[in-house]
Symmetry: C2
């Protein structure tokens, strides 16, 4: 849920509820339900883990008289594993931990660990173009998808027969990111990898944000990224250290000062692999690139503690809300040449609307051509109009992003980003999506009011 | 051009010609031409290097009274280079060698070397989902595309603002592979890489096709593929050796027999990198995986001679045609679990229709989950009905592929593969493509009769 969802549930404003929750037991039942809903003009909102932070699973009615939540919790099976091709077919309702548990029985893992890992589902990952914290090593979720099965008002739609194809446009990449508007994803065929035998997570500190992003860029362009590569800016690093304010942290601060680091930026790097040798070698690749950037190694403790706590962020929000804090995140991505300007622009936009605020930023996904930026914002909640307060800040940040970066690197569009989609894909792009939707969902029952 | 195109030009049957050839000087002129053609209901066939082997640039009229070839030869500029982001924007008419020449001035290369390299263009690569011979190292063309600019009847359409995005479906992947039916690609933003300082190409021999494909699979799944990785089956290896029938080849045959290789399959591997050290290290990764498969190293001569001759294949066809030979290629891809069965099925289908024929096969593109198969077929030409002869063979092979592999790994759909597209993407997929086309090209002027 987003901050606004949480605020609404604390008595500010309404939130839409579905008229019924329907739980199909298999893809065929999901298909039947979609057809019945089409016949009776009832809206269908696919529901997986309910972790959308952009309103993706709100039970909006659109022009329909009724709307159901199609809860995919019972689609929890591993359908098949092909160990030779390293492809597993999973049903849409399988959660992150369940997927890894089911696959581990065959020696495999997805390696997909977004912050929503504990609850989010395979179908949701595919529907929203999810990116996990280990995206540098395992790829974004769309890189893993080799096939998709969708329930649509026009019948079942299956995509994906080969590892690569030149048979026209890649329609799998239309299904991935369709957010329930082009069909209910019921099964996904996924590329899997052997469970890593060896994991090593470490912390480094770099002096200054520009220096830090330059180092991450060099890692990406030299193909030396660790599987997890996460660079915090000075503000986020400061908060991380303050939250761990033990004698160890004090010693660390002294050590960094002694090493001449004026503006510490924490870099978490994690490698996963089959053997110690392989991990050691990849680690050497990474550290060799980091050296000229003056990276100071601060050991495994911070890396491992990050790894242990990496899914806990969302759970802290309730406590903050209880204490009158407005806390929300937003993310984007841009090419390297524009990344630092984009960060400045978003920070400026947030400060201009919120006034005093803690704005933290990190890079958690890097590519040869650019990277993502993930912002966490904390400010005193405006008790008279908490929803308006964040809406204005989000709008200002989104305006700052438009034209430079993407409106969403891994949170999808949902409701919150819909006003900015046309600026990114063009009016023609929006028309194309509408036309595609009309072709599979002529009466518009699928997730009304989302994406478009 | 395809074999059938060549046969037609030798007096068998008609071939369609455009009513005019129009050469715009820049994207804005291309846009104007598309709009004028839309106004006058004139078909537009985008033309780059003319290297389509599936009828992709035939000047079909559809239901239009006239059709023009929109020759993009004058769109030959490098528009911009962002060395920090490693992105270059190239106009659609730039050929492979021109792209590398223009980029080399900035220290960069695309690394995209399909067999059509000498003539094919940037726009054509993008329109057809081209895969180059070094796809293992540099990726398929679609992996390089970060942005696309298209001229459509509805106006210009620009896509691509970030290295990755969760802003809905990836419409770049709809533009890539659209074969001129969703717009005329006028510019492409591409991820570039530094020109490699060191290149090393070598030959290995593996005993037997199944053993060979297992080795390539292991390379792909262990992330140890060389940038170029090309495995020939026994028949293709035999022809390669026969064509090089020098004393050296005789010695090689003796050497392989002495090493106990009964069914030699030639493996060409090539690494490209910044330093000797880097290439040596990657080479070590590759050879370490190859060892347990009994790969016998046969030195650099065959590797280098393959590299030098790698674009010459198409030029040999005329001589073969003069000698009454039917010579054509076809390709597909499948997941590893089905790859060898697919090869058998295609061979059986070709043999059943052609009778005595030389059928050679190689893997030239490998992925974690599967690989491509590329077939070369030689047989005596049926002089009474050469077109029918090949059409029947191609139809039989395509039927054998349907349901197991993709109808096209890197040759696109054009006219030849259109009848098999629905089996791959479903009737709903075809409807979605038609709807997308209708949205950008309401009167259907863009490349009539192609893809769909």
């Amino acid at each position: 849920m987003s901050y606004l969802d949480l605020v609404r549930r604390r008595g500010f404003g309404d939130f839409p509820v579905p008229d019924a929750v329907v739980l199909p037991g298999d893809p065929a039942e999901a298909q039947s339900i979609v057809e019945i809903c089409a016949r009776h003009d009832v809206g269908v909102v696919p529901f997986g883990g309910g972790t959308s932070v952009v309103g993706g699973v709100s039970a909006l009615r659109g022009d329909k008289a009724a709307v159901i939540a199609l809860d995919l919790a019972r689609l929890g099976d591993l359908v098949s594993v092909d160990p030779e091709s390293r492809i597993a077919v999973l049903q849409a309702g399988v959660t992150g931990p369940a997927a890894d548990r089911l696959l581990a029985a065959h020696g495999f893992t997805l390696g997909h660990v977004p912050q929503s890992y504990e609850r989010a589902t395979i179908g949701g990952y595919a529907a929203t173009r999810s990116a996990g914290q280990a995206s540098s090593g395992y790829g974004r979720f769309e890189d893993m998808v080799s096939g998709v099965r969708l329930a649509t008002p026009r019948g079942e739609w299956k995509l994906g027969v080969a590892p690569a194809s030149a048979a026209g446009p890649d329609l799998r990449q239309l299904a991935v990111g369709s957010e329930g508007t082009l069909g209910v994803i019921t099964e996904v065929a996924l590329r899997v990898r052997p469970v890593p035998e060896v994991r090593r997570y470490e912390g480094y500190v770099l002096d200054g944000w520009e220096n830090g992003t330059a180092a991450v860029r060099e890692l990406a362009q030299r193909h030396a990224l660790a599987d997890v590569t996460r660079l915090s800016d000075v503000d986020e690093t400061e908060v991380s250290l303050a939250l761990n304010d033990s004698w160890k942290t004090k010693a660390l601060r002294r050590y960094l000062r002694a090493r001449g680091i004026a503006k510490p930026c924490l870099l978490i790097v994690g490698w996963e692999g089959a053997t110690k040798r392989e991990v050691a070698r990849r680690r050497q690749d990474t550290t060799r690139v980091l050296e000229p950037f003056g990276a100071v190694r601060i050991g495994r403790t911070l890396g491992e503690s990050w790894r242990r706590g990496r899914f806990s962020g969302p759970r802290q929000r309730d406590a903050l809300l209880d204490n009158g804090v407005c806390v929300e995140t937003l993310e984007t991505a841009a090419y390297w040449g524009e990344l630092n300007d984009l960060r400045d622009a978003v920070r400026a936009a947030l400060t201009a609307t919120l006034g005093r605020a803690i704005i933290m930023c990190h890079v958690s996904h890097a590519y040869e051509t650019g990277a993502s930026l993930y912002f966490t914002v904390l400010t005193a909640r405006d008790e008279t109009d908490p929803i308006g307060q964040w809406r204005r800040a989000k709008a200002a940040a989104s305006e700052a992003i438009t034209g430079i970066g993407t409106i969403s690197h891994h949170h999808a569009v949902g409701v919150d980003h819909a006003p900015y989609l046309a600026a990114e894909i063009g009016d023609i792009g929006v028309e194309v999506l509408r036309a595609a939707k009309k072709a599979v969902d002529p009466t518009g029952i699928l997730n009304p009011g989302k994406l478009l």
